[in-house]
């Protein structure tokens, strides 16, 4: 770690930090775990969280931790969706499917055209990008039905974030779901049947997309 005369030290896990070969023994139990900075301070860090200790082979990978920059995906571990680990962070938040978000944001845009008396209120770029993205990915004709159907998976232990990922991905089969959401693999035996039923029910609710390859 570099330190100048005033004792300032660079953030330990910034993207451009020096390889942590000297730290690997300390970090071997945790891998290169860096948390999202809750306070939004300038020391934002690159998040290579190694599943907060759930990884049993992280000790093996400690020595390779220094080469993890840009190659974290080469780990063969089935890392759970980070959303599951950050439930406390967002316990007051409601996960939205892209189609639900599209409806809400479109509603706000419609209101803004009515309330545009104040010329200084301009919608930011991220609003338009968010609207465009959510509308492009709004794949269902009836969002409430999709929400109702997928919420039935909650009683089998599927969290809201995973439900949103499933809805947004529009999977064709349960294999696809388990491949895209590895955190559900541990419950494959319990989830296989309810997931098949849910996918069968929501399939007719998809919008027909003539441009897909």
């Amino acid at each position: 770690m570099e330190k100048n005369g005033k004792g300032f030290s660079m953030p330990k896990s910034s993207l451009k930090s020096t390889p942590s070969k000297d730290d690997s023994s300390q970090k071997s139990k945790e891998g290169r775990k860096v948390q999202f900075n809750n306070g939004g301070s300038p020391e934002e860090r690159f998040d290579y969280s190694k599943s907060n200790g759930k990884s049993s082979s992280s000790a093996d990978k400690g020595g390779r931790g220094s080469t993890a920059n840009g190659k974290a995906s080469k780990s063969k571990e089935k890392e759970p969706l980070e959303l599951r680990l950050n439930q406390e962070l967002l316990k007051n938040a409601k996960c939205l499917m892209d189609c639900e978000a599209a409806e809400i944001i479109q509603g706000i845009q419609d209101q803004m055209t009515l309330l545009s008396q104040d010329a200084t209120i301009k919608l930011p770029v991220s609003f338009h990008k968010g609207l465009q993205y959510s509308q492009a990915n709004a794949r269902y004709t009836n969002t409430h039905s999709v929400r109702r159907v997928l919420d039935t998976l909650k009683k089998h232990g599927v969290v809201e974030g995973e439900i949103s990922v499933i809805a947004n991905a529009c999977p064709e089969s349960t294999e696809e779901v388990f491949a895209l959401v590895p955190s559900l693999k541990s419950k494959k035996s319990i989830l296989q049947e309810p997931l098949e039923v849910a996918l069968m029910v929501i399939k007719p609710l998809r919008k027909v997309d003539s441009t897909s390859v």
């Binding site: 290579y48 938040a93 919608l123 441009t211």
Partner: protein
């Protein structure tokens, strides 16, 4: 992904805005200050959907400004590691390609692109399979997985991969 969340913020208002339209002025200022910003915890604030509560104002000593604690609901967009997103490619180079999903930029390194795809330079640089059947170029839609995120003051930047099962090109603009 998108979240609907309640946030709280202390808004400072100049006395010139006091009066009948105090609340409207407060809400306008909140929208100007908050919409479009990005934080490490909540991601991008895409839009404010409503005001839950405006607390009692507190006059700051030495100035005439008043601080109001405001609770508001908003739609935020925050990518998570492990999340599957569909993004639109914005730039392709030999190091990989950049894609955009909503307000978020994602970079996919060539190391995280399938081994059977090769970079082709030219007017329209792209990654193409050996048999030419699949191409990734500007405006292609790809499904990718986020494997890392970084937040700075105004934006979120992610690293993604398309090397896993069920990831890759969804829509080729030239098809």
């Amino acid at each position: 992904m998108f979240f609907h969340i309640v946030l709280e913020r202390n808004m400072q208002l100049h006395p010139r805005y006091f009066g009948r339209n105090l609340r409207d002025n407060l809400v306008s200022k909140l929208m100007k200050d908050v919409e479009g910003t990005c934080s490490g915890k909540h991601g991008f604030v895409v839009a404010i959907t409503g005001i839950e509560n405006v607390g009692k104002g507190l006059i700051r000593d030495g100035t005439g400004f008043v601080t109001f604690p405001v609770k508001y609901q908003c739609v935020v967009f925050r990518p998570f590691k492990g999340e599957i997103l569909e993004a639109v490619v914005t730039m392709v180079n030999k190091m990989g390609f950049f894609a955009e999903a909503g307000p978020v930029q994602i970079f996919v390194s060539n190391h995280l692109i399938s081994d059977d795809m090769e970079f082709q330079s030219g007017d329209m640089p792209n990654y193409t399979t050996f048999d030419g059947s699949i191409k990734i170029q500007k405006d292609s839609e790809v499904r990718l997985k986020i494997i890392g995120t970084r937040v700075d003051a105004t934006e979120i930047f992610c690293i993604g991969t398309i090397k896993d099962d069920f990831l890759g090109v969804i829509n080729d603009p030239t098809a």
